[in-house]
Subunit: 345 residues, 4 copies
C-alpha cells in the first residue's frame, strides 16, 4: 500500500496537528456565523494581529496557496500590470496559469537558490520606466516572494529589507507567500520574524496547509483597507468558505500557546538530523537549504535504488547521470522514520 | 453570545457529522498522496460512481459551491457562450460575479418558485438561433439548475427529464448544483435520484458543505473525459486541494452505510414538524418548499419580535408591511431546538 | 446586386464624408508619428476639447463602438463591479459578451423607449447597498447610457442631469455611448450639447463610424488622468491603432468648420421627411424616435412586400401578425432615395 | 515640424498606397452590407484564397496586429494552455499583456536573431509532457511565429517546415504573424511563399497596416471552420469592423494585379541600397536582417549625431558605448530620401 511506505515526499501528507482536531471536535456542535464572521475567526485574527504587531491588519482565511496568490495578486494589480517573481517562483511554474487566468503576466527574474535580488527588481522597474516603449509593455506592478522559497532557502532580514525598500521607492506592493512559513520561523538561520513581515510587506500569508492545519492560509494585510471589498474579491474567486469558522478554529489553535512556532521545530530538527547524516556519508547537497526541504544530488542509479525504500520527490536532472531529489520533513515527521531513513543511506 | 441563540439562520453553522470527525481523527497520521491521488479519494470516487450507477464518471472534490460552479461553467463553455440560469439562481445573484470573472454572461430566465421551465429554455435557444444578429450575441452554451433550488423547491423527475431533453436536442450541456442535495434526496416528495442525475445531467455536484461535511463538494461528470485536463482547470482556478484526502475522507464517509441519505432525514423531519406547526398556528408559507428551508410570510413587527428569540434569515420584503423570513434546518438540528422554536410561535 | 437596392438598412453602409477622403489624400504621403502621437491627432484633440469646453480632457481615438465600450468599462470598473445598463443597451445584447469577456457583469434595468431612469438607477444602487448579502453580490460600479439610444430616442438635458446627479451622489462614474451622437446633435428636439456631456459624464465617446468617418470613435474623458495608463489599457485590448493619424485626420476634419454638426442634419431632414410621409399615409410608428432611426409597425405581409423594394432592418415581432421594421437614414442619404422610398409607401 | 524631418523611424508613417485611396474614393457612395458581409470583402477573400492556394480558407479582416494576435490566440487555446513564442516575440514584449488579458501565458523560448528553433519547441513540449507535475503547469497549446521576425529576419522554408512538423506531431496549432509579410515576400532571400504558409500554418495573417493599407490585417485559416463562431469571438474582442468593407476594399486592391507583391519591392530595394552604403562605409550591422529593417551598431555619440538628421528607432544598448539603431524602409520610401540618408552617413 502506497501510504505505508517510508515517505518523505512532501509536507502535506498527514492530517492536522492533534490539538486542531481536538478543537474541531470540541466546537463541532456550536452554531457559528458563516463566511468568517464567527467568533473563532475573530479571535484568530486578533491573535495574528498581536503576534505580527499589526493591530490594524486585515486578516482573511483562505483554503490554499495558489488560491491565495491568485486572489491577492488580482486584488493588488490593475489590469495592465504584472507581478515580478523569480523564474522558479510557484506562481511562475506550478500554478497552471492561475495568475494569467486573472489577466496578469508574471514577469520573471533570475533566481539565486530560489531567491530574488533587490538589485534585479530595481533594474527591472527602471528598465521598464526608461523604455521608450514602456506604454506598450506590461508595467511591473508588484513583487512576489516566497519565504522559505520553493528551494527551501531563506531571505535574510537584510535582503528582505532591501527588497522592501526598492518596492517602496517605486511604490509597488510587496507580497510574500508563506506556504511553509512555520519552517522558516523555526529555523535557527532565519532572522525574519512575523513583525518584520508585517513591517516590510504589503501583504503576506501564513501557511496552514503545509504547517499543521487540515487546510487553510491566513492572508495578512498590515494596512487596513489597503484593498477595499477584498471580501467580495475573495468570493468572486470562489475562495470564500461558507464554514469560515473551520479555518478560523484551526488558526486560532495554531496561534494559541505558540503552537505555530513549535510546530515547525519538529520538521527542522528532523531535517537537520538528515542533512548531517547525508553529509557524514558524503552525499552532496544541491544547495544550502536550511529549512524542512533537503535537496540531495544523487546518481540516477542511486536515486532509483533509494526510491525503492524511501518516497522522495524528483526535483530535476542536473546532467545525464545525476538527479536532484527532494526529501521533505514536516511537523508530523516521526523520529523513528528519520532513523529508518538514515539507516537506508 | 451570538452563537448560543436559538438559530435557524442557515444549514452551514455546525462542523461535521461526528462520523466524519471520527474518520479524520482515525486517519490523521497516515501518509497520503496529495491532490486527490490518495486512496480515500479513490474509494470515495468508487462509492459515488456506484451509487450514481455511473461507472465511468469523473469525480473531483472541491471546496465550495461558488468555486465548483465557476470551475465547471468555465470548463464547459467556450469564450463566446453564456450559461442559462433562473434569475434567482445562485450564480445569477450571489456569487459576486464569479461567472463573469471567468468571462461568461449569465443568461437569466424567469423563475417559478426558483425553477426553470423546459419550454423557456427551448425558447431562449430558439430565439438566439433565429435572431438575424445571433452572431453578435452571446450564444446559450449550457444550462445551470439547482436541486433543491435557492427557494427550497424541487424539480420533479418529469420536469428534469424535459429540461435534459431540451438540452440534448440542442446539444448544450446540463449542469446541476446540488449544494443541498442531501435534503432533496431525503424529501418524500422528491422523485429525482442520483442515477437520474447521472443519466440526465452532463455534470452535477453533490453538496458536502451544507450536508454534513466540514467542507467539500463532489463534482460528478458521468461521461469520462467530457472535459479534458479538468484537473488543470481546477488548479488554474485555485480550487485544487493539496490535501485532497481531507475531502476524500469526508466523501468516503458520507457514502459509507448510506450516511448521505440518512443525514438529510433529520433536517427534513425537523422542517416538516416546523411547517406543520406554522400552518396549525395560521402562519402563511410563501410557497410550497418541501425541503430543509421554510419560507414564512410575517408582518414586519412579528418578524422583528420573533427575531429576538430565533435567528432566521431575511429573504425579502413582499410589501410595505410584510416580509419573508427563511428558517433553515440541517443534519445537525436538534429536536429540542425544534420544540423551543415551535413554542415561540 | 444587393448593394444597388434602395437601402435604408443602416447608417454605416457608405464610406466617409468627401471632405475626409480629401484630407486623407492630401496628407497621404506626409510622415506621421504612430500611435496617436501625430500632429493631426493632437489638433483633433484640441478641437474636441474646445467644442466640449473641456480644456483638460483626455481624448483617445479608437476604431469601433464595442471596442470603445469594452475598453472604457474595463478601465473604470474594479473586478468586483458591474455596469448598469438598460436591458436593451448595446452592451447588454449586441456585443457578444465583450463586457463579460473583460470580467464584468452587465446589471440590466428596465428601459423606457431605450432609456434608463434616474430613479431606477438610484434604487438599484440603494438596493445593493441595503442588501445584507451585498458583499456576495456584484457592486454597481458605473452607469452606461447611449444617446441617441438603440431605439433612436433622446435623453433630455433634465433627464441626463438627474442621472448624473444620482451617479455623483453615489460616486459611480457615468459613461455615455455616442455612436450616433451627430444625429442627436442635429435633432431639433435635442437639448443636450457637447459641453453638457463633458459636464455631466465621466467619459463619453463621439461616434465617427456611423457619423461620416471611415471608422473611428473619439473617447473623451473630461477630467485629465481619471484613468492612469489608459493608453496601455487601450493597447492591451488590441485597440491601439499603429496609424493613429488615420483616425486623427478624420476627427480633425469632422471638427473643422462644424462638419460634425452639419453632417447629422442631412440624416435628420431625411428622417423627418420619411416620418411625415409615414404618418400622412396612416402608418403607425412604434414609438417617438426623433433621430435618424424610424421604427415603423407593419403587418408582416406589408413588411415582406415593402422589403422587396426597400432594404430595412428587422427589429422585432410585436405579435403574431405585426412586426417592427427600422428605417435608418445617414449623413449620406440622398434626397432622391428618400423620395423613391416615399413613393413606395 | 516633426513630420518633415528625414524619417526612417518605422514603416507605418504614411497613409495608404494611392491605388487604395483611389478605390476608396471610387466606391465611397456605394452602399455596402456591414460586418464584412459586403461584396468587396467577399472578393478580397476569394483573391486571398486563390493566391494562397487555399480554396477552403476562412478569411477575416481585422484592424491591427495586437488585436489579430489576441483574437487568434484566444480562439485556438483552451483556458489552461499557453502559447510558445520567442522571448523577443511581439506578443511576449510589446503587446501590453494582451495575451494574458485573454487568460493565457506566453511560454517564451530562446530566440536566434528573432527566430524560434524547431528543436527548442519540441523540447519544450516534451519537457512539459514528461514532467511529473505537468498537470500543475501551463500546457503548451500553440506556437506563435512572426515572418519577418521583430528582428527583420526570415525563416527559411526548411526551418518553417521543421517547426510545422513538430507542431503537427504534437497536435498543436502553428500561427504566424505576418505584420510585415509583404517585405518577406519581396525579399530575394525569402523562399516561403503564401501557399507554403497556407500549407504549413493553421492560421496566419497577411499584414496590411505596415504594408500599404490605411489599416487592416487579413487573418487566414486554411482549414474551414477550424474555429467555429470566430465571427463572434472577433466581435467579443471588440475587433469586428461595422464598416468591414473599408478593410475589404483595401485587401481587394492589395491582391489585384499583384500589388501586395510589388509594394514590398520598393522597401527592399531601398533597404538593400542603404545596407550596401552602410557596409561600404564600414558600419557594422547587428545581424543579417535582409528585409525592410536594418539594425546598425553605432557608437552612442555617432547615434546622437546621426539622429539629429535622420529619425531612426532606438533598439537597444549593446554595451556602455554602443547602441543598436533601427532604420526602417517601407512601400512609401522615396529614392531621394534614401540618397539623402546615404549622404548623411
Amino acid at each position: 500500500m502506497k501510504e505505508s511506505k517510508l515517505s518523505f515526499a512532501s509536507d502535506y501528507m498527514e492530517g492536522a496537528h492533534p490539538e486542531i482536531l481536538r478543537r474541531l471536535a470540541e466546537t463541532n456542535t456550536c452554531k457559528s456565523a458563516g463566511y468568517g464572521l464567527d467568533m473563532y475567526s475573530k479571535s484568530a485574527r486578533e491573535k495574528i494581529r498581536a503576534v505580527c504587531r499589526a493591530p490594524e491588519a486585515d486578516v482573511f482565511f483562505l483554503t490554499g496557496g495558489t488560491q491565495t496568490n491568485a486572489v491577492m495578486i488580482d486584488a493588488l494589480l490593475r489590469s495592465y500590470q504584472g507581478v515580478i517573481a523569480a523564474e522558479t517562483g510557484h506562481i511562475s511554474v506550478h500554478e497552471a496559469g492561475a495568475i494569467e487566468f486573472g489577466g496578469h503576466k508574471v514577469l520573471t527574474l533570475p533566481q539565486y537558490e530560489g531567491k530574488l535580488r533587490a538589485a534585479d527588481i530595481a533594474r527591472c522597474v527602471d528598465t521598464w520606466r526608461e523604455d521608450a516603449n514602456r506604454d506598450h509593455m506590461v508595467m511591473p506592478g508588484m513583487v512576489y516572494l516566497s519565504h522559505p522559497t520553493e528551494c527551501g532557502t531563506l531571505y535574510s532580514l537584510q535582503e528582505l529589507t532591501e527588497i522592501s525598500s526598492v518596492c517602496r521607492d517605486n511604490q509597488i506592493p510587496l507580497y510574500l507567500d508563506g506556504a511553509r512559513l512555520a519552517y522558516a520561523l523555526a529555523c535557527p538561520k532565519n532572522d525574519v520574524k512575523l513583525p518584520d513581515l508585517a513591517a516590510l510587506c504589503d501583504a503576506f500569508y501564513i501557511g496552514g496547509t503545509k504547517c499543521g492545519a487540515l487546510f487553510g492560509e491566513a492572508l495578512v494585510i498590515p494596512r487596513h483597507n489597503l484593498v477595499p471589498q477584498l471580501f467580495t474579491i475573495i468570493k468572486q474567486h470562489g475562495a470564500l468558505l461558507a464554514k469560515g469558522f473551520v479555518a478560523g478554529i484551526q488558526f486560532e489553535t495554531l496561534f494559541t500557546d505558540g503552537l505555530y512556532f513549535s510546530i515547525g521545530q519538529t520538521a527542522i530538527d528532523a531535517a537537520d538530523r538528515i542533512r548531517a547524516a547525508l553529509q557524514e556519508r558524503g552525499y552532496r547537497l544541491a544547495w544550502d537549504a536550511p529549512t524542512n526541504q533537503i535537496f540531495v544530488v544523487l546518481e540516477k542509479k542511486q536515486a532509483a535504488a533509494l526510491s525503492e525504500r524511501i518516497e522522495m520527490s524528483f526535483w530535476e536532472n542536473t546532467d545525464e547521470t545525476h538527479t536532484i531529489m527532494r526529501i521533505a520533513t514536516s511537523w508530523a515527521t516521526r523520529p523513528e522514520d528519520v532513523e529508518r531513513l538514515i539507516a537506508c543511506l
